[in-house]
Symmetry: D3
Subunit: 323 residues, 6 copies
């Protein structure tokens, strides 16, 4: 089971000029063969199906725990796509206007969804369970996971290079750093099981993250070295596998026994032109306030967000930025 | 982001006589259109894409929080399928034997997987992102969610009736009870937004859970009334929507501010005939012990499980039961 | 079984400037999850599989009859797409010219098809039988149908807003009006079976059709109130369910015992650049004339169409309009 | 647009011993590449997209009219599958009993559906729009249609040979006869356009229908020679193409200007074990009666069916037959 | 089994201005329903599954041999797509630069692939085994093959007309010529088995290749008349079926007992911006040289290519052409 | 381009008792994610898309050449499936009899196909181009290929253990041996490029082939050590990568400069019950003989096969064996 906490793994910039074409490409990192849904679901099923996990505990802990972090990755990919699809000029306090079909590389971003992320790849094809590999054979699964992280890293680099929207860059800078940790973790596990010196395979693709500006803030905080434990009570044996020097920098790998604190998420503004969350979002807000009162709660919403609610702050900032 | 804790939402019986045909049918509850992957991913994407969540907070909290519980549901469906596919006579301390292809209604249960659950439906077709509906329009999404839970309940009842393996029965008894809570939650949300008196729609399908023996232990503990908060810090406004009398029993609905404690998971035995986790699982166990020691950890594995590790306990119990 | 009559449910404007990008978006209304193929096939299969239909006759009649109207809807969506893909400058009496690949958002509109509609969604993904929900459980099926019409209405609104080609606007104006009737019909059926006051849910999405100019001609003729009986002999019990006041206007709902007369379809001009119906369509016309004669039929074709055959009229009109 | 009439193209036997395995195979005739959904939708889209139809009228009429007949074919395939899935021992007046998962070759026949036909093939894979070929090029489309009918005939023969349930045999006997007419019709159209003497290609596969007992009643009524006009007002030029001698028997082909009368459909009994149409179908019947009265209609249902409603007749017959 | 030889069936121009939109359209000829993967795999499976091939030898030889040629066709389609995706300005001796996401109609051309061809259609949907038709019935299979080649020819013509990149034109000019030979071959086989005079069906679509400039070099060499035997030892009976006059020109059809010599392939330059074959391809070249030496091979690579290795020649040529 | 030669890579036993359930499982080795179509098409596309192949020649040669061998593997998988589906009692010289639907785990084995292999996996789902990974990045592609061969080996072992039909055992014995060579080849390539000592990873899964009886004949001939060059003229640099000691046995790896001779294929008997190649195959044989004569060829067919044509030999052998 899981406990959810409403924070993002990394900060993203607020919505600015929408970039639906870029958003369509970022979808590959969500629902592509090497996207975050594939890493999330592959490791999740591997952990569900893990047999004799007590006997092979450190490996079970490693896979189950990385699966937990991947949930935060699909969340951040979605947040980046949502940011890129947000049109501040169409936010809540504006009269709805027409949409231009020609702008959308993936029409379902607005027809089926409310300028929202989809479980699809960059060609608009839905993610499929076929992308999950969970064979039950530990060495094979770890071999696969190392390969999967390699492919994921390749895709992140490509999207980094091709999409220059600040949200896409912030996203890929972060994912490259964290994905690198997972790539190392699975390689270390393979080393321990087979004796193969996988550390020589790094970096793959052969671009070290220190060449990528958007990775630097994360590297400076040591995020390329740390494997967080995403549990209060379990997965205690991570350090039995994740240890030794970082294959590129030589710094010592580190298990952090708490999950990262994260940052407050951006509350993206309503987009009435796509009925998200409604054609007239203020009516829903009124109902919400009334219900909160009836339940004896505070007049103001309880959530922790990075901006001043209702998205108006975003709109103002953007207006300033544009002018 | 999430924290994972290694507990099951409900207890399942240990493996006994394998039932691969039943397991193939239970897959519908995993990867079918109305399966738990659909509820998990639909609510997850709805929460990711929720705009102006601060303004509509109680509704956002409701969807985001139910999404969290659904993670535990795919976990339990996987556990039931794994249990049904486990052949105690082929467990770790036995010489590997042949497999009988004809026994497997879904051949990939053993060819691609190690007698393990798959992200597929009962026809062996992979789950697809197409099953996610996240339109951004709050009323439409809630209408969908109410319908989705209705369909899911129908499917659970059908599997309950058709598969008599004890793991399938324990699973569906639990899911019917918890799915009923979600169905009510979405109906209450719709009532609050539209004024439609959705409570009259219950039960749908028209079989109340009190007619189903395997639901009774859960009903006795009030599980049909409680919406747990699966977060330490967030989703504080659930009670603004989830309140009032239960539509079938008239008892008061209740928000519980902590997640359920859960039960220790069963550590299913190795199945060397399908190389899960290996052809010779004891070698992996030796490596694990060595790594644990090298990392300064205890000699014995740290995990909390319901049985005595390595699956032998299971095998013994089953041997007793069979003889 | 069915009888087909060669009329359209509503008038569409003749082809003018082609809009292949808009046509790609309109495809969502054909082959998307909430498109007309989904409504057609869902209600069709529900009617085929309806058990004890005599005992539940008015409900059977309702679903079976709405299924019949949906056939006309896929026909009109196809007609709109075909109109938008027609390039009058490439019509029959012109020398074929090159095609510009870059113009086509969905390349199969011309490679596989002859500037023709496809059973696909807006991402070019084929419609699938997976979109059909026919559970056999009447209340569940009706709940689904109400939801499906809600989603379909959302999609129609989005396409209305985003595609400004006159054929797309005429199409969506009509479909919004007729889809609204189906939405009400299923809501009324649910009211009758469960007692839930579904009428309070309207409109959903919350834009009433009276705000949409292209709906007005249909509303003026009362098309938002009428359920036509698409049968000469059967489905006599519609009025047992479809009655009472319209949820938005309060006007009385009405069952019309005949199908609508419809309008003569436009005979779209040949497009020799895509070999539709041939590279040299006049040869086919000659053969047709000869066959007609040999069979003792009139020299001129017998069909009823809205324009003067062979598309020349269209070309002339467009030339005038363009110049 | 269409008018629907509630008759079957041919009589089917009442439900007897269920044959879910056979039903799974008959699904190939519904949703397979060469199934009736493929013929229905291919000809439908070809007729929708037909350009310069006035100039090529007899060919347009031919395709559009055969499309109309195919609707009746998917209806009859569904009826046969539903009959084969019906368990008279579980009909309305009985206490619901358990279902045996192992009996169902396609688990979705009961989990997702209420012992009902699905838009899937014999492997449980949904039909897809990819099976539609509508190129706009008349000669190519007709070439395809001739091939499609050849493949369909092959599949019908295979199902005829392999499934001995009386409903499957009655179905395939009828479809072979009618499909043969369509095969000839498209061949004649090709002859007229290209001069190729397609009649020499018959029969293909090389089994004439006169060797198949279940075809004989239809052959005796001349059903192998007649092309019905499924329209009151349109498709008047069929005889310009469909004429001349039958390629196998030499008898004269014939256009019948009215659609066939058909036979009253069987009202299949409720199956409460799968909630079709409900767990307690009599409640729905009561509501139906009340609604009918409130609308000023007769006390008894108005529909024309082949048996005495509610399925009891079927149950009695079957009981007699079984005992 | 096969022997591969590293030659192309026809010459293609070197890379020039990239045309990713055109490349996306050419994908239809690779992975579309009527693409070369469909012809390759259909004939391959028909030959694998051919029963009593000794009894029906000339037909077996025909299908098996054409299957062999189709391998060369997917190769040439890939080569054309790769050429169109190559950006000489980003070749090996240049510093990597950014990619512009907006340029790519199919984002996977660079995200998942290294500016490389994909087994997908023009909408980015993967080719599927469902496109293979291999019924075992010889007449039906041949009927299908004739139709398939007709559809393939239609698609090639459309791509010819719509994509003006020189590689696409050279490709389609060649494929139209060779596909025409296959269309005739299957038609001849059908004539022999059924007596139908299929030659009257040509050309279909009704554009003879002599109207297409890019076909002329191939026609001049008689490529429209020759069926090559792609085997050293087998498929000796081709001439028993492939003989007589060409249906369009009246020239005699001819079986050539050797496979065509082909032309040396272009060695396309590295594209470090997409890590193909690496971010720093010269490192790989160094390793290659070292390995070659260690194995006692020549210092220089052994392969036969059309240009001076490493792609520099291409870059120079393009620089000249551009300036 | 390729030259085909009509030999099998290994001998298979003649058809005996059909095993359609086993055949359905063997399909995983054809069309599964880790099946031979995936290896064939992955390496084929990698070779097509290989950039700067001259600079990286030994690696290009390796991939391109292994691709060629994989063609022979899909051929042999097809042959095994066809053998397992052949019912000698229904062969050419017998009156056709009924088919039993219940026998077929994959109904399309006989409905769509003539007791023939399909491009599908063990659940009857068609192979998809999505299974091809060709990133253009050489290290990533080789990493993938090593993983793919590992997964393929796992699947072959599972099928070996579960299907005891002699054709399945002969097939998997051979494929395990040859797949092992490919696994080593890709590992060696990775070693050369990265310095990782991949040889330590063997065997994976951890069952050496010397424990499998059906591998022994191949091992005795040294087939586990040899990489054949499947070309007359190209791929000359294999030995630069494929060399050194075998990771399990220590014997020296070896490049063989000619392709294996192979064995004559079995000519499987006609199966008139599924119209393969016809309902009356002798008619086709008569036509074949006539055509051969007309072309001035020998009276008897020219092909090399392992049995005495027309399958009678098989039937006789089987009759003997059965009696």
């Amino acid at each position: 089971m899981i406990l959810r906490y409403d924070r993002w793994g990394a900060e993203l910039p607020p919505p600015s000029t929408p970039d639906p074409t870029g958003a369509a490409h970022v979808q590959e990192l969500m629902g592509g063969k090497f996207g975050e849904m594939s890493t999330l679901m592959t490791y999740t099923f591997q952990s569900f199906n893990f047999r004799n996990r007590q006997g092979a505990r450190p490996f079970y802990d490693l896979i189950a725990n990385i699966a937990a972090e991947e949930y935060g990755h699909i969340e951040l990919v979605a947040a980046a796509i949502n940011t890129m699809l947000t049109d501040p000029s169409k936010a809540a306090d504006q009269a709805p206007t027409e949409i231009d079909a020609a702008e959308f590389a993936n029409p379902q971003h607005y027809i089926g969804g409310g300028r929202g992320a989809l479980p699809q790849n960059s060609n608009g094809i839905p993610w499929t369970g076929d992308y999950v590999t969970a064979t039950g054979d530990l060495v094979e699964d770890l071999t696969h996971n190392f390969f999967l992280e390699t492919g994921a890293r390749n895709n992140k680099l490509k999207v980094y290079e091709s999409v220059d929207h600040p949200a896409a860059r912030a996203l890929t800078g972060y994912l490259l750093c964290r994905g690198g940790v997972h790539q190392i973790a699975y390689a270390r596990a393979l080393e321990n099981l087979t004796g193969v010196d996988m550390m020589k395979a790094f970096p793959s693709p052969r671009i070290p993250t220190d060449k990528i500006p958007e990775c630097q803030p994360h590297i400076e905080r040591g995020e390329h070295l740390k494997l967080y434990r995403f549990s209060l009570s379990d997965y205690l044996e991570l350090a039995a596998v994740f240890n030794g020097p970082h294959p590129e920098t030589g710094e010592e790998l580190e298990v952090v026994s708490e999950a990262p604190e994260g940052v407050a998420p951006m509350d993206l503004p309503a987009q009435p032109d796509v009925f998200a969350p409604d054609y007239a979002p203020e009516e829903i807000a009124e109902i919400a306030t009334r219900l909160r009162k009836a339940a004896g709660m505070s007049d103001t919403p309880s959530g922790v967000i990075a901006n001043n609610g209702h998205g108006e702050g975003i709109v103002d900032k953007v207006k300033d930025a544009v002018s």
